[in-house]
């Protein structure tokens, strides 16, 4: 049960992080003096949510994943672990470091009415969204690999 709770929390925080990154992207497209405070808060929220997803997912991966890995590798979709989990666990670091940088850039870069500054925050948000969606897809494949490994 605890195992499932950790996993669901990891997914929940990851998805919330992506959704907040989408909200941030939209806010930055329409950046003005009015929403600059909200942009800074959203950047911090994305960072906190992705870090929580990393810590909880990392704990689950180190403590609980071994059993699932053996099931996947013995099943018909061994590549769900051999490829998608291996790629996911290393691409996640890109998402993490981008999310750590996001609030630093959003708070310190200066005016977002400047096109170059705005584009930098937009690019980082877009990368977080795209990598986050890949994380979700890969997670789904890994989960399916366990189900198939169990013969369901």
């Amino acid at each position: 049960m605890l195992n499932q709770g950790f996993m669901m929390s990891h997914v929940l925080f990851g998805i919330l992080g992506i959704l907040f990154a989408v909200a941030l992207f939209v806010d930055v497209v329409n950046a003005s003096e009015k929403n600059s405070g909200r942009i800074k808060k959203l950047s911090l929220a994305v960072c906190v949510l992705i870090v929580l997803a990393y810590l909880i997912g990392g704990y689950w991966y180190v403590v609980y994943y071994g059993g699932d890995r053996d099931i996947i590798k013995a099943g018909k979709w061994p590549w769900a672990h051999n490829y998608f989990m291996e790629v996911k666990e290393h691409v996640f670091f890109l998402l993490l470091i981008l999310s750590l940088y996001l609030p630093i850039a959003a708070h310190r870069i200066g005016s977002l009415t400047d096109k170059k500054n705005r584009n930098l925050i937009l690019a980082i948000s877009a990368l977080i969204i795209l990598i986050g969606l890949f994380m979700d897809g890969a997670g789904g494949i890994i989960s399916r690999g366990v189900t198939i490994g169990l013969g369901r």
Partner: protein, 112 residues
């Protein structure tokens, strides 16, 4: 500070971000291709992935503060930094996805 120059922390940590993103696949290749590196990472914090992550986080913050003190904002602007970050992510992603690509061979053997 003019529009063509960057504030020191956004420039310093931006450059640190690029270095850390490119360091990620380098650590991956080192640990996957060298059993000694893999066992050292495992013995350091109990799991190679944990140590890998801590190395990247520490490098990001240490280099971020070091680069922030080097007044890189006069040499970098947001547009250049954005391009470097995007290319670093693409290069890092291709190396990671490409390295494990041989593991996908089994996908052709799916039977339902």
């Amino acid at each position: 500070m003019t529009n063509s120059q960057m504030e020191k922390y956004s420039a310093g940590f931006g450059l640190s971000l690029i270095v850390t993103i490119l360091l990620n696949p380098i650590v991956l290749l080192c640990k996957e291709l060298n059993a000694n590196v893999m066992s050292a990472l495992k013995s350091a914090l109990g799991h190679h992935w944990t140590t890998h992550g801590v190395i990247l986080i520490v490098v990001f913050f240490v280099l971020g503060f070091v680069f922030s003190g080097m007044k890189l904002g006069t040499k970098l602007d947001s547009e250049k930094l954005m391009k470097y970050i995007i290319w670093a992510v693409i290069i890092s992603g291709i190396i990671i996805a490409g390295f494990f690509l041989p593991n996908l061979k089994a996908a052709s053997a799916i039977k339902y």
